[in-house]
Amino acid sequence: MSEHIVTAFTDELEHLSANLLRMGGLAEAMINDSSRAVVTFDLELARQVIKRDEAIDELEAEAEKAIIRLIALRHPMAADLRAVLGAMKLAGDIERIGDLCKNIAKRCLELTGEENRAAVKSIERMSRSVSYQLQKALDAYLRQDVNAAIEVLELDDDIDDHYVSFFRETLTYMMEDPRQIGSNTHLMFMAKNLERIGDHATNIAKAVYYMVTGETATGDHIEARIKKEGSGR
């Protein structure tokens, strides 16, 4: 889209989106590092991840201020309005992702390092899919790409399935060895957190969908769009 006549308006919108992408990048790294801390039982890394959440919170506060300023002073309309509203949602979702990663890292400090390897590997796999999902959602945001956003929405079912099977798997380990109940419960919560992060990534994709199309990302709209695009996708 072309530039605003008032260049400061364009600058502020660009600054906001750069800020969100930075937040998103930090969150993505927190997902990867928190799971790496679990897999390698690296408590130092876990402590670092906990600390990093502050940076995301600060960026969120900054984004919120910028959004209020834009609404109050620039009166954004049409695509600009949608961009600002979308940014508000993104900031909230990314901030929550940071919190959930921090929680994973905190739980890592409670582990013994002698957890069932298969369960730990499952966490790693799940974390990888979730991190990929977030990366794709942020990429869809950066490129304002509605098709990429739809792909992210489709990824979420896999993660939900993954979580359900992990839940069953962990229950089996607990029954086999009751001494593992404590640490396996932590692993179960980590999986739950990862599943929630997947939901936030989905929300981001929905926000991108709205920003680009002006329509709410509901099943009907998405299907209609996919049909309309046909083989273009």
Binding site: M1, S2, E3, H4, I5, V6, F9, H75, P76, M77, A78, A79, D80, L81, R82, T213, G214, E215
Partner: protein, 273 residues
């Protein structure tokens, strides 16, 4: 209890409003306007709904005022202007030979950018139209017409004690409401407003906007405005004009959140067109 009953009727009313089909008051078909050799309006067709506010927006010189002036044949008064195409009001062609433009203008009132009260008393400003159109018989009836018009324009309380003072002595916002009262006094069906708030401060503007919102229950209102925020605040339909053409016309909410045409998008978001 009361609250519930009220809620109920409120819901019933809004349901009714939703089910009611939108009635077209003014139907414009293939309008072209020329000033001498220069064409100002290109083939515009547009249906204006009754009991709603329709806003015309667009950059200066896009033809929105020219188009507005077709609706009460104000362009007739300009020597070089030529209008082709048809405009129907309640199904009747307003450019038909049998239509008297003066009578038409009593059915289609107009409010201008700058408040232009007559250099007469507040009372006479309002009474002038009803008098020449013979809308009131006798002093008492005329008094009633004047009071009712001033009340509808939200000006009665402020001027009731000085009806014989000159209209030009009022503040800008009051003058504009006086002009709206003057337009209302001849019981029009359509009210055209050409940037009615551009000379007013924000408080006076808010009063006029509140008035427009009340008036739309009774009239078909068309407003030309340079303020997109104003169009967004007061109108239900918005038409975007550019270079003499109608680019996009639709529900105001959609135009301001999700316009279809990239030119509309560029204009309302303040980008280069």
């Amino acid at each position: 209890m009361d609250g519930n009953v009220e809620d109920f009727t409120e819901t019933a009313r809004s349901k009714q409003a939703q089910n009611m089909p939108e009635m077209t008051k003014v139907e414009c078909r293939n309008i072209d306007v020329f000033y001498g050799e220069k064409q100002a309006i290109f083939d515009i067709s547009l249906d204006i709904p009754d009991r709603a506010v329709t806003a015309f927006i667009g950059p200066s010189g896009c033809g929105k005022s020219t188009f507005l002036r077709c609706i009460n044949r104000m362009n007739d008064t300009i020597e070089s202007a030529r209008v082709t195409g048809q405009i129907f009001m309640d199904g009747a062609d307003i450019n038909d030979h049998s239509i008297d433009p003066v009578l038409l203008r009593s059915r289609v009132g107009m409010v201008f950018q700058k408040p232009n009260p007559f250099p007469k008393s507040i009372y006479d400003n309002i009474a002038y139209g009803p008098r020449i159109h013979g809308l009131a018989s006798g002093k008492q009836e005329l008094d009633e017409v004047v009071e009712s018009a001033l009340r509808k324009a939200g000006l009665w309380e402020e001027v009731k004690d000085r009806l014989l003072a000159p209209g030009t002595g009022l503040s800008g916002g009051q003058q504009q409401r006086l002009c709206i009262a003057r337009a209302i006094a001849v019981s029009p069906e359509v009210i055209l407003m050409d940037e009615p708030c551009s000379a007013l401060d924000p408080i006076a503007t808010a009063r006029i906007e509140e008035l427009i919102d009340e008036l739309r229950e009774r009239y078909c209102i068309v407003i030309v405005t340079h303020s997109m925020q104003q169009a967004a605040r007061v109108s239900q339909k918005t038409a975007f004009f550019h270079l003499g053409k109608l680019v996009e016309y639709g529900d105001t909410e959609r135009i301001f959140t999700n316009p279809e045409d990239s030119r509309t998008q560029d204009y309302i978001t303040g980008r280069f067109g």
